[in-house]
């Protein structure tokens, strides 16, 4: 299989690999996929007081396209507001990375990971507001 230059670039120089503290109330963590399916992505966002994603990290078990999709996803969500990040679509990833049809599921997984991280962040915030009341 021939990989696009952009997939190769993200695979060779992945952006934002690593982890943020799961217990930080301002960090949202999304883990999607399953080892039996051959790909698992963990994507984390750190949101500041203005609701802007100031940092993002990922770790991915999966093929080169899965690694590239999650790397790109972290790059894209950084600097966006929570609301903006929620509008990212897998098709944007497909286009940017020039993914072939059999690799589209990698982009879907990356979109799922962003959503899961946002949902986790929101749940933490909701829990915090509730306990303040």
């Amino acid at each position: 299989m021939a990989y696009s230059d952009k997939v190769l670039d993200h695979y060779n120089q992945p952006r934002n690999v690593g982890s943020l503290s799961k217990d930080d109330p301002n960090v949202g963590t999304g883990v999607v996929g399953a080892p039996e399916c051959g790909d698992v992505m963990k994507l984390q966002i750190k949101v500041n007081a203005q609701g802007v994603i100031e940092d993002a990290r990922f770790k991915t078990f999966g093929c080169g396209s899965a690694i590239a999709s999650s790397s790109l996803a972290t790059e894209w969500v950084k600097g966006k507001t929570v609301a903006e990040a929620a509008t990212l679509r897998n098709t944007d990833i497909v286009q940017e990375l020039n993914l072939p049809p059999i690799k589209i599921h990698c982009s879907v997984l990356a979109e799922d990971a962003i959503r899961a991280a946002l949902a986790d962040y929101k749940a933490k915030q909701d829990a915090a507001t509730k306990s303040e009341v």
């Binding site: 299989m1 990989y3 190769l8 695979y11 992945p14 690999v17 982890s19 883990v31 999607v32 996929g33 399953a34 080892p35 039996e36 399916c37 051959g38 790909d39 698992v40 992505m41 963990k42 770790k59 991915t60 078990f61 999966g62 093929c63 080169g64 899965a66 690694i67 059999i102 599921h105 879907v108 997984l109 799922d112 899961a116």
Partner: protein, 407 residues
């Protein structure tokens, strides 16, 4: 000494043509180019003589009693089809049951599926966790309706060798034909169709340093005489079993390849085994959580199939791009299913996705092995640092207790 890149270590997929084989075949393109069936002139007779020699070389490599038992085909796929369908169709009045193994090559499994659609019944025997057939299960599966048992000599993914002599003995006693796909076996392990009671045996030149597109089927002539219904009809070549003008240069090449395989089997096995052990020891001493797939001893010297837990196979292939190996990961197949062979051994999907097959061959060197160890260790570590599964395991989380979202 710097190694020359890229390195080819995928010798189960195919092999380079040995220069001695190439040299042997070349005159048959431009000098001795007659049709081997043209007995009336010297061009044809010389071609026929060359084919006769090749047939002899192949017969010798597998211990066949007479050269006539070797039928040329286009490769092991055709030999598999001809043996399985040819025998079933010839014997259909005698029974309707066939037996094979879950880990066979697709050329065998798909031939059986075709027969199932015609009404034959097929038993797919399981293998144990090391990839070996159970003799008890085989004995129990044979019924008076059974026509043929098809069990491969060497598996193409895990290099595991089946107990051929025992299988042959059992089939012979029970009066069923034993067909053996030996595409991955010729030149890798000793083969003797007489001692092993093999009735039909498929071979392929490109797996033994010969060219692609030529193969052979051994068809026993005595005790018992095996009769097959041909698939290709036409001019009646190969005693009617396989019509079509003989591909003389390719046949000459396959003969030479078989001769080299026979003469060099012993030394080559020793050399490849030393290289394989060097690779396996090197990887094991530097990486944790890696697992050998298939039996460690009953396997061909050049095969090493390893699961690198928490490192997805295709991402490994990408990282070691200057070393040609293959993976049982779904991502490398069109079906998005991980290897059915590893599945049959009970290897979980999560480990099947991390498997890498190293196929060490005649032209690999110690330097290449050492380079491969360095690269694989480096890439495995890099990818594990990037792997959420590795992180969880380091944190002491048991992955089997995690509820995954799937997709």
């Amino acid at each position: 000494m710097a190694v020359k890149l890229p390195i080819y270590m995928d010798n189960h997929a195919t092999t380079a043509v040995d220069p001695r084989v190439l040299e042997a075949m070349l005159p048959y393109f431009t000098e001795i180019y007659g049709n081997a069936a043209s007995r009336t002139h010297v061009f044809g007779r010389q071609a026929e003589e060359a084919v006769d020699l090749a047939r002899h070389q192949i017969a010798q490599a597998i211990g066949a009693t007479t050269d006539k038992e070797v039928v040329f085909t286009s490769g092991a796929t055709e030999s598999d089809n001809l043996a399985i369908k040819g025998a079933a169709h010839m014997l259909r009045d005698k029974g309707d049951h066939l037996i094979t193994l879950a880990t066979e090559h697709k050329a065998v499994l798909d031939s059986f599926s075709a027969l199932e659609r015609e009404g034959f019944r097929v038993t797919y025997l399981p293998v144990d966790t090391l990839g070996i057939v159970s003799m008890e299960a085989l004995a129990a599966a044979i019924t008076p309706q059974t026509l043929l048992v098809a069990i491969m000599a060497v598996n193409n993914e895990i290099g595991v060798v089946q107990p051929l002599a025992e299988i042959g003995q059992l089939c012979h006693e029970r009066g069923v034909l034993f067909f053996c796909d030996a595409a991955q076996a010729v030149g890798k392990i000793p083969l003797d169709v007489e001692a092993m009671h093999i009735d039909l045996l498929a071979m392929s030149a490109h797996k033994m340093y010969g060219p692609k597109g030529i193969g052979a089927l051994y068809v026993r002539r005595k005790n018992p005489r095996v009769r097959l219904e041909p698939i290709l009809h036409g001019g009646g070549h190969e005693r009617g079993l396989r019509s079509g003008t003989l591909a003389v240069p390719m046949i000459v090449a396959m003969g030479k390849a078989a001769e080299l395989a026979r003469l060099e089997l012993h030394d080559e096995s020793q050399r490849l085994l030393a290289l394989r052990n060097r690779l396996w020891t090197g990887l094991k001493s530097r990486l944790d959580h890696i697992y050998l797939n298939g039996h460690e001893d009953f396997r061909t010297p050049g095969n090493l199939n390893v699961s690198f837990a928490y490192v997805e196979g295709e991402s490994m292939l990408m990282g070691i791009a200057d070393i040609a190996v293959s993976s049982g990961s779904a991502c490398t197949s069109a079906s998005l299913e991980p290897s059915y062979v590893l599945k049959a051994l009970g290897v979980g999907d999560e480990l099947a996705h991390t498997s890498i097959r190293f196929g060490i061959g005649r032209f690999n060197t110690e330097e290449e092995i050492d380079y491969t160890i360095e690269r694989v260790v480096e890439v495995a570590n890099r990818l594990r640092d990037m792997s959420p599964l590795w992180e969880m395991v380091q944190e002491g989380i048991d992955l089997s207790t995690v509820s995954w979202s799937g997709h």
